[in-house]
Subunit: 257 residues, 2 copies
């Protein structure tokens, strides 16, 4: 078996190493990851400049390819160019920080999994619900291993459907279970902080306060994660709003050109 691993925290990230360590027990793991952190890049791909790709070594041994691009770039070039063998599964993570609610839209971690699905490869994005520097990824990595085996057993059900997985950052015995969830509507409270640089130019920092979750939906990823559950949200990339589409057919008749 042959997996491609990537992330958006960059090729140096601990979450990626933890993932490689566990998944290497099941498959040959090709690492293709951004050379620098790429958080909140959404589903960006690089068109206007070339992608630099270099072999990245760790402790003197080949670890993977570092790409001067986005997570979606890494998946695209990894599958299409950096190996001759078919990829059975793409795993993106383990992200330092959750990817739930509206934030899923901005997530580089998730976009890598989506890109894999677009290219016809099963995929999984996995994130740990902490931003702590000394986060312990070991449980999340072990769960990822169980989950990929589950996914391979159910590959027909999951074909074209990336899974977005979030793991509570608590000891294993405090985890309440596994929940199949939907993307919640909770979003960050955001403001801009205005500053003036030494040359009198104006600039702004985006300041995000912690997620206010007032949605009260127990099947949302945000709520379930907060309640100590591992969340698994199946995703799609058809952005059509079918309900409104049906309504528009009639209403649109009044529109002339």
């Amino acid at each position: 078996m042959h997996f491609l691993l990537t992330n958006d925290d960059g090729i140096y990230a601990t979450g990626l190493s933890s993932l490689k360590k566990e998944l290497s027990k099941e498959a040959e793991c090709l690492i293709v990851a951004p050379e620098r952190e790429q958080s909140a890049v959404g589903h960006a791909i690089t068109l206007s400049r070339p992608l630099m790709v270099r072999k990245f070594r760790k402790n003197g041994k080949f670890f993977g390819y570092a790409v001067a691009g986005t997570p979606a770039d890494c998946v695209k070039i990894g599958i299409k160019e950096l190996t001759d063998k078919p990829i059975d599964l793409v795993v993106s993570g383990i992200n330092l920080g959750p990817n739930v609610g509206i934030d899923v839209i901005y997530s580089g971690t998730v976009s890598a999994a989506t890109e894999a699905a677009i290219l016809g490869v099963s995929s999984l994005a996995i994130s740990l619900d902490t931003r702590s520097d000394d986060a312990d990824f070991s449980f999340a990595a072990k769960f990822a291993r169980k989950l990929v085996l589950f996914m391979l057993r159910h590959s027909s059900l999951l074909k074209g459907t990336p899974l977005n997985v979030n793991i509570p950052a608590v000891p294993k015995d405090q985890i309440k279970g596994v929940a199949v969830t939907r993307q919640g509507s909770a979003q960050m409270m955001e403001t801009f902080e205005r500053r003036v640089d030494p040359r009198e130019n104006i600039y702004y920092w985006l300041v995000a306060e912690s997620l206010t979750n007032t949605e009260g939906m127990t099947d949302s990823d945000t709520t379930a994660l907060k309640n100590g559950m591992i969340t698994i949200t199946p995703l799609h990339y058809d952005l059509t709003h079918y309900d409104v589409m049906a309504d528009l057919h009639e209403t649109m008749k009044e529109l002339t050109f």
Copy 2:
């Protein structure tokens, strides 16, 4: 009335000026656009560095704000920081080149409209189906004006639902009509072209060949646009795959941790 206009081709783009010219007949138009082209940035936002914002003049007059960021950044900072007055509608475009099929996922033009919807503002992304340098945006701009009036009349139906609009680049009398469409599944054929720089480093250009549309769905945006229709696709940003979610509830029970 107060509109915010943005794009992903950058504040210098002709498509944006054409839009401003027409929409200024209906509303005060605040322009907040990327200072440089931002195509294929997806729903990226800028977190790791500050956003530089400067006043941009055209023919000696204030034209709008140029932001060193993405289209989604422009919408966020425009609505939250650069005006005190509420924004009634966000219009993104007119993009040079179509945004249909799988490409919608990568589109900066569309992500600006989605960001507006996330912030509770009605929105519209509009693209012209040509990449010609001397494209004529006048018909598309006039249609945008009609469409925003339609949207304001039906604001309850369209609340939270960005519209993704594509205009054929043909004379008006050759346009076949207006179609309510869904995002098609057609995607670019992509390859990477490998090169070696003068210092022996390896780099790759992403090469996209024209869209191969074999989907045969007449209600898809790609097909309808090719058939000379103006396409209007209502979008959402709930990425949950509800059908698979229902199936997973049962299957997932075998997964332990």
